[in-house]
Subunit: 268 residues, 2 copies
DNA sequence: CGGGCTGTGAAAATCCTGTAAACGCAGGCG
DNA sequence: CGCCTGCGTTTACAGGATTTTCACAGCCCG
């Protein structure tokens, strides 16, 4: 759960430590020495804003007020030097979510930003990302299902989660251990073939609905990569000659064409 | 905007002032000298809980943890005497929304409780949505009841709430945990089958009044989806023809049709 | 060529859901 | 006050669906 935070402050010591810790935690941090117009805050798509009103040129109350009105869903934490109870109460009533005073441990500041973001997020009913489209495929998190031109792939829950995971990392090779860890939620036992089995099921269902596309590629000795690409040979016109398959009602041969293997570290 | 708050503390001086101010603000305040079991907290339908872990007999962390898990929507504010940064960080990470230290002005405590409640409340959908019509069904929030061509389904309160919830999310798959959380108001215990049981009751009553429609669909391993659709085979006009699928291979499947497992047994 | 590594199919184990019935509780009523 | 009734909760079980496991075959790369 990554947090996008902007900090408006000029306490370099505090900022330095905060930046370091934020990076370690995987947060996306944006710093500013002066007030950021609410318009720009919107564009930054933040989870939270940490601000010391002392550095604001204009009237701090006014600024806080405008931020609260413009971005009701933004987590807002104020971090001041000295402050009175009356000031804090005023701020909190105004719409500030938390008010901390310096000297303040960066770790606590982060924990409070986290708490505020968590709380804000909980109200939101849509933690998932919107539908993803890849090739002919449409992945809909709200349905726990994937579709090709409206037809469901009939994925089970695990299959869907696996597909969603690899699709989100489109183009990137994911190791089995990583996949297992993220889909199953715990470490993969040595020799477990579950990932392979589910990849196979996925490929089957994908090919059934979208035969002309290849989605999941094997990287020998590494893992799998999701990357939709039209299958070679079947495309816009220009059929050279008889395709490989011999005539016959039921070609038993499963060409296993899905196995496009790339050298481990060769980029196409 | 009235707030329902419970306070677990025994600092009489603090409590007295707090009670007076809370009353003046029109809050509903409930006091306790010791820990309140999460079960009872549920029944109180609180907006927020203010607690001093010092008065907890058992392990404070354990209690806070259980409260957070059981009531994810409850605003939780801790108010301690002395505390370390590490303790505060631990609490906030655990799920506590705000952590203040005594001596603490009651007004600030209230302001923080307010801020926490405000955050919690945000994002909640409008409490009163207009009547919903779906298929032959008409859901009337003002009556806490649903009707089919004027005839009541005789839903109980829970049944109605469940129906309203899934109907508002029409077309979207809702997980059991989500449903439980939103209808019952607290976290679903592992292995609880209440949602299934109520879904069954709903389906029974729906089918009784509207036999030719199918409303609630099961998504195996995930949850349920509300989507009214005429039941296959029986509808307007004369179904002289075979309702069975045509001989052609795999006609384009209905868009919304994803592994529907709705039992076809008509118990009666 | 051989030692991994991966694809495949099916059996075995596990999990999930529908269903019914028992249970407990609170309010209404005689 | 005790009984009855409606409602919500819990439990048990059976039938399926899904997941895991296994053995084997084929493939890749050194």
């Amino acid at each position: 759960m990554t947090i996008r935070l902007a900090v408006i402050d000029n306490d370099t010591g505090f900022l330095t430590v905060l930046a370091k810790r934020a990076e370690a935690a995987g947060w996306e941090l944006r710093q500013s020495g002066g007030s950021i117009p609410p318009r720009d805050l919107v564009a930054m798509k933040l989870n939270a804003l940490l601000v010391d009103p002392a550095v604001l040129a204009e009237d701090g109350w006014d600024y806080l007020n405008r931020v609260c009105e413009t971005l009701p869903d933004l987590g807002l934490v104020v971090c001041t030097g000295r402050s009175t109870v009356a000031q804090r109460v005023r701020g909190l009533r105004l719409g500030v979510d938390d008010w901390i005073t310096k000297p303040c441990h960066p770790e606590e500041a982060m924990a409070r930003v986290e708490a505020v973001s968590r709380r804000r997020r909980r109200g939101r009913s849509e933690p998932d990302s919107g539908p993803v489209v890849a090739g002919e495929l449409e992945i809909r998190p709200d349905q726990f299902q994937a579709f090709v031109s409206g037809a469901s792939l009939d994925l089970t829950r695990r299959e869907f989660e696996l597909l969603q995971l690899v699709a989100e990392a489109r183009g990137q090779v994911l190791e089995r251990e990583t996949i297992y860890q993220r889909v199953w939620g715990y470490a993969m036992a040595h020799g477990d073939r579950s990932v392979d089995v589910f990849i196979r099921k996925l490929r089957q269902k994908l090919e059934k609905r979208s035969p002309d596309w290849s989605y999941i590629h094997t990287h020998f000795g590494v893992g799998y990569r999701f990357d939709p690409e039209p299958v070679a040979g079947v495309d816009v016109g220009a059929p050279l000659r008889e395709p490989v398959l011999p005539p016959g009602p039921e070609p038993v041969v499963e060409p296993a064409a899905s196995q496009v293997v790339h050298s481990s570290f060769t980029a196409e």
